[in-house]
């Protein structure tokens, strides 16, 4: 009795059961509204019914297999769902549109490679869940404006190590300062207008070197690692190592005003007062190309990190795009009424932000070369910088303003603002940190900007925590896969596309040499076919012309034999009857 009772009682409900119920309800509701984000499983369900059936069967099998010892089935059967937006993040290419008549080998090859890339995409999307860090943020209380939050408040509110990242360097003698962070974000180089250059491991505040070059300094830039940096001085370009020892003086590069380093190409691009754009290959120390832009003094420059194209801003309001492979500008865009003051390109290479003397801040879609947004800043922005997560910092006089989402939504007020002690001359977000470095008349200020940096770095690409040994290994690997300057183009994936033009040219040459087209379609030879009369068996039968020819002889023979025996039998009988009809001498004795 008791056991029966226990059996009939329902097992206590678990948290997941409720959850599932809710989920189901939510699903139903979502289906009604039709605005829910599609998940991959749903996407899978939209496949053909045959596939669906197979999937279903597999699922069932899985369920049966995965029954626990307790007899209960797995409440979360199958693999976990991957959110669609995550999958989208790792999507490389649209699927190939299949031509109607594909060669079977090509078809399987394409299918296999697509399968592999899909698997890679899914795995990467799954792995995304395991990333350890989350991005920073700053939210005001009700009625509180985040742009009014002071740096001191933020520094006090966060942990000590993060708080220590806000600091000021008072260097009023040699300012204003240009600054640059290394690729890993650990090291900072500052260069004062009046010749003061210093390298700092800014997190530990360890001064690596400090020199005075006794000349005016126009720009400073880290090269591929923290062991070398370039300084554009009054006349020539110099390269120093992290101990402050002068390694090179490059006299081919004169009057350099701004510099950009292309880390994957090992190229240092310089823009000079004599309107030359020059490229220096730092791995071999040779000038790659010198382009006379013929546009006057070049003091506005930035690079597109996605395709290594150099953007130059000009006094006539245009922005020009350059690659080392072409002596002319790839693109010329008229962006402002007055001179262009600063240019910045987003990490993904989608958006470009420019500011000009007309006190406007404009956002362009750099892939389509279309203006998206235009803002009016009362003082006009002298320096622009974009962070890894898309925050825009603009310096207007001695005020640094940080904006969020300038390309998607119309922005009315800044996300953060901070007043520094002098006119801003250099502005740079630190990679992988929520820090904005500001070089100004009175030294250097490190600002905390929550949500600026990419939280999860890839150690094989840029590792802020790397040891000296790891750096050496990385350097070797990076040098081995240095991209040649010839490969710089507007579309960085161009190399992966099929080169149809060359193929057609080659094919033409081949046809000319051979005298006929080897790939031409073979002339259609119609097959003689009639309804139901062309099967192999029938054709064979028809070929024989006379049915059962081989058997006919045998049959004829057999018939002949039969006829003969019959005849013989008849003869015999006849003879018998004849004999019987004749009366013999002995008949007279019969009764």
């Amino acid at each position: 009795m008791i056991t029966l009772l226990i059996l009939s009682e329902q097992a206590p409900s678990r948290y997941w059961q409720e959850l599932q119920q809710e989920k189901d309800e939510a699903k139903d509701a979502g289906a009604g509204e039709g605005n829910k984000e599609p998940t991959t499983e749903e996407a899978e369900e939209s496949k053909t019914p045959k596939q669906k059936k197979r999937k279903f069967k597999e699922k069932q099998d899985q369920n049966q297999d995965k029954k626990c010892i307790s007899g209960k089935s797995d409440p979360f059967p199958g693999k976990a769902r991957i959110p669609e937006d995550r999958l989208q993040k790792f999507k490389r290419k649209e699927k190939i549109k299949k031509p109607p008549h594909q060669h079977y080998k090509l078809r399987t090859m394409i299918a296999r490679s697509e399968e592999a890339s899909e698997m890679a995409q899914k795995q990467a999307a799954r792995f995304d869940l395991l990333l350890p860090e989350e991005a920073g943020f700053l939210e005001g209380d009700e009625g509180e404006d985040t742009c009014l939050v002071s740096q001191e408040d933020i520094a006090n509110a966060v942990d000590i190590t993060s708080g220590a990242k806000h600091f000021n360097l008072k260097l009023s003698q040699f300012g204003p300062y240009r600054i640059d962070y290394s690729k890993t974000g650990r090291h900072l180089v500052i260069g004062g207008r009046k010749g003061h250059v210093a390298c700092i491991d800014w997190q530990s505040k360890h001064l690596m070197c400090e020199i005075n070059v006794m000349e005016s300094v126009n720009d400073v830039k880290w090269l591929h690692s923290e062991s070398m940096y370039a300084v554009a001085q009054k006349k020539w370009l110099y390269v120093y190592d992290s101990n402050g020892i002068e390694l090179h003086c490059i006299r081919k590069f004169n009057d350099v005003l701004r510099m950009q380093f292309l880390p994957y190409h090992f190229l240092l691009a310089t823009a000079s007062a004599t309107s030359f754009l020059q490229y220096l290959d730092v791995s071999v120390g040779k000038e790659v190309v010198a382009i006379n832009t013929k546009t006057g003094r070049l003091d506005v420059m930035c690079q597109n990190p996605q395709n290594a194209i150099i953007h130059l801003g000009h006094p006539n309001g245009t922005v020009t795009l350059w690659s080392p492979n072409q002596k002319e500008a790839l693109v010329k865009m008229l962006c402002h009424q007055g001179a262009v003051r600063s240019v910045a390109v987003e990490k993904n290479g989608t958006y470009m932000v420019t500011s000009g003397m007309d006190k406007k801040l404009k956002v362009y879609d750099i892939r389509a070369f279309k203006p998206l947004k235009s803002y009016f800043l009362p003082a006009g922005a002298s320096c622009l910088s974009l962070s890894q997560r898309g925050l825009l910092s603009a310096a207007t006089g001695d005020i640094v303003q940080v904006y969020r989402d300038v390309w998607s939504t119309p922005v009315t007020k800044p996300y953060m603002a901070h007043r520094v002690r002098g006119t801003v001359w250099g502005l740079h977000f630190c990679p992988f940190e929520d820090v904005l470095g500001v070089g100004h008349q009175d030294g250097f200020t490190s600002m905390l900007v929550p949500g600026a940096g990419e939280p999860n770095f890839d150690a094989l690409d840029a590792n802020p925590f790397r040891s000296a040994k790891q750096r050496q290994e990385w350097e070797v690997k990076a040098l081995l896969e240095k991209i040649q300057p010839e490969l710089i183009s507007l579309d960085p994936t161009e190399l992966g596309h099929v080169d149809r033009a060359t193929f057609e040219q080659k094919h033409e040459d081949r046809v000319k040499a051979l005298g006929f087209d080897p790939l031409a379609k073979v002339k259609f030879i119609p097959k003689f076919k009639k309804k139901g009369r062309s099967s192999a068996g029938r054709v064979e039968k028809r070929k024989k012309q006379v049915a059962h020819e081989d058997q006919r002889d045998i049959i004829r023979k057999a018939m002949e034999d039969k006829r003969k025996t019959e005849e013989e039998r008849k003869n015999k009988e006849q003879k018998k009857t004849l004999l019987s009809s004749q009366k013999s001498a002995l008949d007279r004795f019969k009764k």
């Binding site: 790792f90 490389r92 209380d141 993904n348 896969e481 060359t502 005298g515």
Partner: protein, 454 residues
């Protein structure tokens, strides 16, 4: 105010002690890895260059023969054993891992023409110019024992080729006719002649084991079915025998071990031809590149590639469906290569040549031999995939295809090309100036087949 600033604990990113391996946190976000294609291309280019740098195919030379090596035989059950027969009638058994000769026997007077190991691996057969077939034990005779053949069969004519059945105690020889022998009998159980004066090689199909292919001196390739009851009949119905006659004589024939309806024959006209047994009207592929008669051919056990030996002193490796070779091996000292074998583990190639040496080569010239560490293997696989992915880029293709050739072969290749172009040009001109359709385009495949007899 709610605020969170990125703050990483170094303990999560730096190894605890020096004995640990370094921590390498990954983030596969594509935006953190720009220039994917260009970087992969550079890696592929480097991998291709390194492949050419490390391409050192020659492993060892086995010397000891006192005359040219005329035939080689793979052991059927042991990877490290190789048998070789020379032109002075000597047979040597080699241990390949030690690279030394373990046994020498004087098998015949005159050439050793053919040699084959029985499927069980306990004995082997040799044929020679002295018109004998001899069966030998694989084991080395003990101390004091004499080298004696198990059986000796005295034939009527000289034998030129030999092959053993895959499963039964039956073997086939060829000479003036093709003979099928039972191991227990001293006379052939069957003989095939087609009015052909002599055959140069005979080979059993590895899968359809009763099928036989042979190359005859009248430029034909003949296929037989052993099960057919009526021998010595020129024209019989269906599968009993099929015959392709080509423009020049084929020297050797080798069946594809995986797709056994394909076979490749080495021809005197510098080419190799792969045929489909079911469709002999024209070859599937014409393999060109040699500049002199091709003497021997052997398939890799994977059936994807084969290796050919030529009179032009080179060895070439062809993919089974490619018209040109992927690899060419030569040395200064190697003379006409007479026989070639691909080892049963598909890693090595063995060649026997005129100047008394047997040479051991790697099948993949740049491959690293021995046990690979997991990381090494991963790197090798990755670079292999990259090379495959970018193989059609002109720069990479140029480097991957580049081979150094001896001067004579280089010039001969050039000369042949000139001759071929001239012939093509003339044909084109003739076609241009004659009635349309009067001079039809004959493809390279169709050119070399004269007729097919069934």
């Amino acid at each position: 105010m709610k605020v969170k600033v990125l703050s990483r604990n170094p303990d999560d990113y730096i190894r605890e002690t020096k004995l640990d391996i370094q921590r390498v946190p990954r983030n596969y976000d594509p935006t953190l890895h720009p220039f994917e294609v260009a970087r992969e291309y550079t890696r592929a280019l480097n991998a291709t260059k390194l492949e050419r740098v490390f391409a050192k195919p020659f492993l060892a030379s086995l010397d000891g023969h006192r005359d040219g090596v005329n035939c080689l035989a793979k052991h059927t059950t042991s990877l490290s054993t190789l048998l070789s027969g020379s032109c002075d009638g000597e047979v040597k058994v080699w241990n390949l891992s030690k690279r030394e000769c373990v046994r020498t026997l004087q098998a015949h007077e005159g050439f050793v023409r053919g040699m084959v190991v029985r499927f069980c691996g306990t004995s082997f057969f040799t044929i020679g110019d002295d018109k004998t077939i001899k069966q030998w034990k694989m084991e080395t005779p003990g101390y004091g024992e004499e080298e004696e053949p198990l059986h000796t069969i005295l034939g009527k004519t000289v034998f030129t080729g030999l092959d053993h059945h895959q499963k039964e105690g039956v073997f086939a020889t060829c000479g003036q006719q093709v003979d099928i022998w039972d191991e227990q009998r001293s006379s052939p159980i069957r003989s095939f002649t087609w009015g052909v004066d002599s055959f140069s090689s005979v080979s059993f199909n590895p899968v359809e084991t009763e099928l036989l292919g042979s190359c005859a001196s009248d430029r034909s390739i003949v296929l037989y079915d052993m099960r057919e009851s009526a021998p010595l009949k020129k024209v019989t119905n269906d599968m009993d025998y099929m015959d392709v006659i080509m423009t020049m004589r084929s020297n050797t024939l080798c069946w594809n071990p995986m797709e056994a309806y394909y076979f490749t024959c080495a021809n005197e006209d510098y080419n190799l031809y792969t045929y489909d047994m079911r469709y002999l009207e024209k070859p599937l592929v014409v393999h060109m590149d040699h500049v002199s008669a091709v003497l021997d051919v052997d398939y890799s056990p994977t059936g994807q590639e084969f290796v050919s030996a030529s009179f032009d002193k080179t060895i070439r490796i062809f993919p089974k469906d490619a018209g040109h070779s992927r690899e060419v091996y030569h040395t200064k000292r190697m003379q006409h290569v007479i026989c070639i074998k691909w080892s049963a583990d598909s890693k090595y190639i063995l060649s026997g040549s005129d100047e008394m040496n047997i040479r051991l080569w790697k099948a993949n010239a740049a491959e690293k031999l021995g046990v690979l560490a997991p990381r090494e293997r991963e790197a090798a696989n990755y670079s292999q995939k990259l090379k495959e992915k970018f193989q059609n880029h002109p720069q990479i293709r140029r480097i991957a295809r580049h081979r150094h050739l001896p001067k004579s072969i280089y010039h001969q290749t050039k000369e042949l090309r000139v001759m071929k172009d001239a012939r093509r040009r003339k044909e084109m001109n003739v076609r241009k100036h004659s009635k349309p359709g009067a001079v039809p385009v004959v493809s390279e495949k169709e050119k070399h087949v004269v007729t097919v007899v069934k």
